[in-house]
């Protein structure tokens, strides 16, 4: 199963760049934010992929005396757990700013906004 050893990291790279591509190449501000959340979740996938231990289970120690049991790494999970909720809050903040931009300019396309600012 050598091929699957690094498959998670390849998918991480593809998702990361898909998100980045959407952020920089799309003119629509909502699409940029969606791209940003794809980018973000790719990073989550990288962290969570690193926590896996072969033959391990979720780090919930019900029998501490059972020393043979393997657990996956809890630390990346803690980091990503909080990052997901912070991610939705910042996404909401971004959307609120886009809503206000739309109210002020009547558009959410970046190139149109730039043109209106120049005038």
């Amino acid at each position: 199963m050598h091929f699957l050893d690094h498959y998670n990291y390849w998918v991480f790279a593809v998702l990361l760049l898909t998100g980045l591509y959407a952020v920089v190449s799309r003119a629509n501000l909502v699409k940029k934010l969606i791209g940003l959340s794809i980018f973000q979740s790719a990073v989550f996938l990288l962290y969570i992929s690193m926590d896996k231990v072969a033959g391990g289970t979720a780090p919930i120690i019900i029998q501490p005396e059972d020393a043979d049991r393997l657990y996956s790494n809890p630390l990346p999970q803690v980091l990503i757990l909080t990052a997901i909720v912070v991610g939705i809050s910042t996404l909401a903040l971004g959307l609120a700013i886009v809503v206000r931009i739309n109210e002020a300019y009547g558009t959410t396309e970046e190139n149109e906004l730039a043109r209106m600012d120049e005038e």
Binding site: M1, V11, A13, S25, I60, I88, S89, L93, L95, A96
Partner: protein, 328 residues
């Protein structure tokens, strides 16, 4: 078998992500990103991260989709321009992709127990949690106990983002406070029989499950972040089925803004109580006679604070978007 299912899910994730970026209609993008989050939650579960999977399912597939849709109701839901310098960015992205794929060869293979990430502090947490904190869920123990400072910081990031959204979208009351405009025509899905009945039926179960996740987080997967997201998803469903005005009668805007502050204050208050009792900030072992009982009490209270703030922030954000909609 699990490995193959994981590979299948990962491939589906890539296909969904490309679909999200390619879709011209933003509504399609948003619904696809809900599906994307659900697949991501499944992937997290396969990778042994039960707590993270629970959070991603509640936040990504539930709350985020509703938030995006309520924002889209205020915006043009079609992309009008094709994009900026697409060819240039496609070339840059592909070049970076090749570099990242080349670098991935040096990464330890998936599940390698001798990978550097598993040999540093992680074994210490796994060995010492039963002795120092005495709760089965190591993720909760690290989140609220060992790394309580970090979580306090994260909570204040959420607090700040929620306050920011309120300042951007809620209107200023004549007496100086923030307020939402009354929304007389917010009837939600009240005229649609099936969503209304199903919504009414499952909302109590979602809220009950949120309470279970909140208070059972020491023993099983769960905790304040997950419970806050689940509870707000339940109330948002209630608001969609019965209308936002009815949901605001249950939990008024004033209560929600109070919750945002109260949760953060509870967290800081527990830290200060530890200081008063002679410990260091957020060192819960001084809260009770038995250090382990103190840790349990401290973590329970801190997680409660997280849950209150997270659900308050998410609900206040939802209502801000929804009230803006009816004003236009």
């Amino acid at each position: 078998m699990t490995v193959l299912f994981g590979a299948f899910l990962l491939t589906m994730l890539v296909i969904t992500a490309i679909g999200i970026v390619r879709a011209q209609h933003l509504f399609v993008s948003v619904v696809l990103s809900g599906i994307y989050s659900l697949q991501m939650a499944g992937m997290f579960f396969i990778l042994d991260a039960a707590d993270v999977a629970l959070t991603e399912a509640a936040v990504g597939a539930g709350v985020a989709t509703v938030l995006m849709l309520s924002a889209l109701a205020l915006l043009d839901d079609r992309e009008r321009s094709a994009g900026l310098k697409r060819l240039l960015f496609a070339v840059v992205a592909s070049a970076t992709l090749i570099l990242l794929l080349h670098a991935s060869v040096d990464m330890p293979s998936l599940g390698d127990p001798n990978a550097p990430v598993h040999t540093h502090v992680a074994p210490w947490y796994l060995e010492e949690t039963p002795r120092l904190i005495g709760m089965p869920n190591v993720v909760t123990a690290i989140l609220a106990g060992f790394r309580g400072y970090d979580t306090l910081g994260e909570l204040f990031v959420i607090f700040t983002a929620g306050t920011g959204v309120l300042f951007l979208l809620a209107s200023v009351h004549e007496r100086g406070g923030l307020a939402l405009l009354p929304s007389p025509d917010g009837t939600g899905l009240r005229h649609h029989l099936v969503p209304r009945l199903i919504g009414r039926f499952i909302v109590p179960f979602i809220v009950l499950f949120a309470l279970y996740v909140q208070f059972h987080g020491d023993f099983g997967p769960g905790g304040g972040f997950q419970a806050g997201a689940l509870a707000s998803a339940g109330i948002v469903l209630y608001a969609l089925a019965e209308g936002e005005a009815t949901a605001l009668k249950v939990l008024s805007f004033r209560v929600l803004t109070g919750m945002i502050a109260a949760g953060a204050l509870l967290y800081v208050g527990v830290g200060l109580a530890c200081l008063m009792l002679g410990g260091t900030f957020l060192d819960y072992s001084v809260l009770a006679d038995d250090p382990i009982a103190g840790q349990h009490l401290g973590i329970l209270l801190v997680e409660l604070g997280v849950g209150i703030t997270v659900s308050g922030v998410l609900l206040a954000i939802f209502h801000s978007f929804a009230a803006r909609e009816q004003r236009r």
